[in-house]
Symmetry: C2
Subunit: 210 residues, 2 copies
Amino acid sequence: MGKKGLLIVLSGPSGTGKGTLCKELLTRVSGLKYSVSATTREPRQGEIDGVHYFFMSQGDFREKLAQGEFLEWATVYDNLYGTPRWQVEKTLTEGIDVILEIDIQGARQIKEKIPDGVFIFVIPPSFEELAARIKGRGTDPEEVIRKRLSAAGLELQYVSEYDYVVINDTVEQAANKLMAIVTAEKCRVKRRMYEFEPLVKEASDGTALS
Amino acid sequence: MGKKGLLIVLSGPSGTGKGTLCKELLTRVSGLKYSVSATTREPRQGEIDGVHYFFMSQGDFREKLAQGEFLEWATVYDNLYGTPRWQVEKTLTEGIDVILEIDIQGARQIKEKIPDGVFIFVIPPSFEELAARIKGRGTDPEEVIRKRLSAAGLELQYVSEYDYVVINDTVEQAANKLMAIVTAEKCRVKRRMYEFEPLVKEASDGTALS
């Protein structure tokens, strides 16, 4: 097995700014690729197939789904959305790192299929802060806010299923941490053994001085 | 359990420059402490107790040893050397990170006692490079070189017991990787649960909006 790219999964409760962090990382790290989702909804003005989404018919989507070709999928307002396994795996096999930003249910589905991905949970500096951000979104009635907060609270409990947790205090600091995580993961022995095995073999053969 | 410091163990075959990397890291990272070894040998001119070594009598050393108060120890030319557990653990408990540079046998002993340390294997860009460096040290006869190389070769096989591997191509690049590893390890969920458990609890209690 040769060098494989890293699958970096940014997840966490809604309202924690993981989308902004994902964009920031894509700007900073050259060669990092964003995983484009597939969807059955109609393209909107200016949306390009393969850039914003892979646009598919319901029939094609369901066929791929039946073949296990989605790392995760979900239904939103009668439309299907999913992460195309064939795209992600092709890119990883080419040695290119892939990042995707996804909700917690999606991340759980992905972890089942690609357990050696790097799962990062993005959280706000405090739960009060999260509450403030959710409230600050608009003029939603308190009932709606309370529901969102409660959902976010439940989501927060999944932190223990992740490899890393990054507090999104400032985009600058959080992005620095994400970059350090990527660098460190590339140094993990379990990801590098393919490279060292020949070296160790060479050493134990005693051929290096000959 | 509150915030604990990280124990960073730099190890690897001899001749890979882990000592230089350790010094570089201590210069760059403020607040990082070097673990001072204990020894029964006499202090040399200019050596300060508690800075270069903790100087101890054979009797005191052996008493501490019997009490399990060394994370690792070894005999070198009739003198005893060891890593004082009481010093390392006190510093970690204070939330301060500790770094130590040690041979592979020492690292194995430490891992048994502090398995949640960060174990980093430093290797040269290639085994030929290691051979070249060992040869370049001086005017040693080929027999000595061959022995060193063979020993280093055997040591290289321990890489799979480590968390990370860092290739010491240049001090600058290798030190950057070590710093990224330290930053990433501080984001690991398993090291942060003490911090998030109250947050999760607060969320599930639903007290955040009250």
